[in-house]
Symmetry: C2
Subunit: 461 residues, 2 copies
């Protein structure tokens, strides 16, 4: 096998051709949410399958109830080479509002940005540019004797609409897709322009709606106010009781399975260049809320929450109306970490609510889904190798970061394929994804490709 | 002067003619809220002024920015006779939905009801029938030598739309209208079909809307949840804190000016035929809520409340949305009794809210008005005389009742004319006011007229 240096040299030499290929893909307006672009989504899928076939891999455009999924297979020469699944998506957000673009969103161009050259187009960063860093890394291996790992490619076309067809697709093709030991997911970002990142924690999410009913119908608050139960008061008491004075969630058993951060990770996070005051100022805030004594990063990445995302009851229009409402409702969400059990949290919550219902109050529950946190074990071998590879490319350690939100596809890999995911991407915070003038740093594209080459090489050992 | 028996005999003898006159008034569709009926409102006003003039009184239809107000004056022969102001309204609610009426709402008729004859028409009970009981009582006096009290008549045409023109009218005609010692208001009801009632307490009302702001804009609850202040939580805590475990309002100073009920009134209320269980069952409830140890009647008539009439924040549509809202708001109302000071309550409330704002939370307040409770002093001479008169007519004591809601006109008399009101009416709970097939018991009309004759006689001493 060729040395990694040879691979990297090939990547450097081919950068103009790689960029041209990316521009071809970016020029296809594969907007998944708008039926008017359906044929363009199919074009993008075919384009990707052709690319994979051009590299000598098997590749098929598979139909789904929505936009097709591209599945490709590439075998490493070495029989005992590790096998990875690479995931990306070829669909993009709509380009609207068009008038805010400085150039045609589907006529990609290289522009001079404040931090160097940028690729400007819808999908440049989310996710076509990121996806192509991996494909171009594979191409460099093919020019130098072949891949060090076997790769299953999975490119979907519905990520921007919530991946509705993906879970069934994974289930239907489980035998074919579950052979890889780990998934590589490229839909994430760098810590900052000079610091790569590996996302190792995603919070889980359990969502419950509660409808509290008091009297059988709305009543006049003058004629009935006093002896009649007000369901808004009942609901408010429940919400108020859910946190203690220190900002901790009071649900019994809630913190079971919530680990304290390993000291080395805590240390790394403390040393990340993160300006809490600037972060808060951007939100119109000056104080860190939530759990007393814990910082912004720790709370968002590694601590569970309980938040009311919506509450409504009675009259909410302009002015006043003297109504005692029959009902009040709220939507609760619990962000979960570690090994917190979503089902146990939801059951504890329902019991908590029921215990607080006064005589005559009733509670109805609607579940809006629940999934546990995902965490790549800090001690995993794949993680160590990827860290080493990224450190070599960027000259500094990769930040091991969390993500406060969920990435449904990563949950699906875990749930449906039993597969952990290594989330590595080179997007930057200012890439304007989903917004006009989306861009992808030319450095991200170039060094991202080099990074994937190093990661594949490292994973092969 | 003629004896009261002579007056009552005249009333009995004239009942058919009185009924015919009421039918004339009921046949005028004086719907105040619908501009299509403006001319009918004017017709009703003119009809009333003509009636008063027909009795030998001065009467004028006075213009307002809305529907006119009829003002009439009648002088008692006795120079030292007391002077009363009689208030009623000639406007009615729309008759819709018309298809639910068993006869034309503006073609009044006598029908057989479950408790005897009924006058069926829009406005029969609210308020034309009640208003005419007083006019017909005056007519009986005129047939027997004249009124025992001087009377100022005030008939408005906008009660069903909130009396928008009345406060300015009272202010503009204060000298003319404030001579009477007391107002007689006929827009209330009996305790039950055999028990008259005098409404002696009206709760006051202070309304405050609060808007709590946290972050400067809505945020993703995954990406930001934990360290970011959630204004729904802040608001819920405030709502929860407003009542203690015994159902008492916790605002500092809230109960200043809240009297305990005089024992004789408490005793009368305990002896009223009131089925708490049936009342609650009608609302889908089984337990008396609110202040521990206090019954339904006491709480609605004589105790203050704090109720949230509406609350809203975040996402309230179907399904879920992982949003951390920038704002949450609630509309609060305080029912007031005794000499509670609405201004002090509102100030205490605002301070209470401000004290509970964590760092970075802001509160904006919108006042939706405040007025104190109204109470006719239990020891008042006019009240004693009216009680005696009603007891003579009905053969049992009048219930001294409260009303949980406010009657704005009574507040206006107190505020603008410095005048207490004696609220006596003969409506029954099942009169279907504001609903199809509104009716007024023929007994209410007949004995109501007799009752007013006795009350005027008693007030004259």
């Amino acid at each position: 096998m060729a040395s990694i240096d040879a691979i990297l040299n090939t990547i450097d030499a081919n950068l103009p051709a790689s960029t041209k290929r990316l521009f071809d893909l970016l020029s296809i307006p594969s907007v998944s949410t708008d039926p008017a672009y359906t044929q363009h989504c199919l074009r993008a899928a075919n384009w990707l399958a052709d690319e994979l076939k051009g590299l000598g891999y098997s590749a098929e455009v598979r139909e789904t109830p929505g936009h097709p999924i591209v599945v490709g297979h590439a075998r490493a020469k070495r029989k005992d080479a590790p096998h990875v699944l690479f995931y990306g998506h070829y669909d993009v957000q709509p380009a609207d509002p068009l008038e805010l673009w400085r150039s045609d969103p589907f006529a990609p161009r290289l522009a001079d940005g404040k931090d160097g050259k940028e690729i400007v187009a819808r999908g440049a960063s989310d996710d076509k540019g990121q996806l192509m860093t991996f494909v171009e890394a594979c191409r460099a291996f093919e020019a130098n004797g072949g891949l060090p790992c076997s790769v299953t490619f999975l490119f979907e076309g519905e990520e921007e609409t919530g991946s509705p067809s993906l879970p069934d697709f994974l289930a239907a093709h489980k035998a074919e897709l579950s052979e890889p030991a780990i998934a590589l997911v490229c839909d994430t970002g760098m810590w900052n322009a000079s610091t790569p990142a590996i996302t190792v924690m995603l919070r889980g999410l359990a969502q419950e709606e509660v409808i509290i009913t008091g009297p059988s119908h709305d009543l006049h608050s003058g004629m009935f106010g006093g002896p009649v139960l007000n369901p808004i008061h009942v609901l408010a008491k429940i919400v108020a009781d859910l946190h203690d004075a220190e900002g901790k969630v009071t649900l019994p058993g809630f913190y079971a399975g919530v680990p304290e951060l390993p000291e080395d990770i805590a240390e790394q996070w403390r040393n990340l260049e993160f300006d809490e005051r600037a972060f808060l100022a951007g939100l119109g805030l000056t104080h860190v809320g939530g759990e007393a004594g814990r910082g912004v990063i720790e709370q968002i990445w590694a601590r569970p929450t309980c938040d009311v995302n919506g509450i409504v009851g009675g009259y909410t229009g302009k002015g006043s109306k003297t109504v005692l409402p029959a009902q009040a409702s709220a939507k609760f969400s619990f962000r979960l970490v570690g090994s917190q059990d979503p089902k146990a949290v939801m059951e504890s919550f329902r019991a908590f609510v029921r215990e607080r219902l006064p005589a005559d109050a009733k509670a109805e529950f609607i579940s809006h889904g629940a999934s546990g946190a995902l965490q790549l074990p800090f001690g995993s071998e794949a993680l160590s190798r990827a860290r080493r590879a990224l450190a070599e490319e960027w000259g500094k350690d990769a930040a091991l970061v969390g993500c406060g939100g969920s990435i449904p596809i990563v949950g699906a890999f875990k749930r449906d394929l039993g597969m952990d995911a290594l989330m590595i991407g080179f997007a930057l915070e200012d890439d304007r994804i989903h917004s006009p003038n989306e861009k992808y740093s030319y450095t991200s594209f170039h060094k991202g490709t080099r990074s994937w080459a190093r990661v594949l090489d490292a994973l092969a050992g």
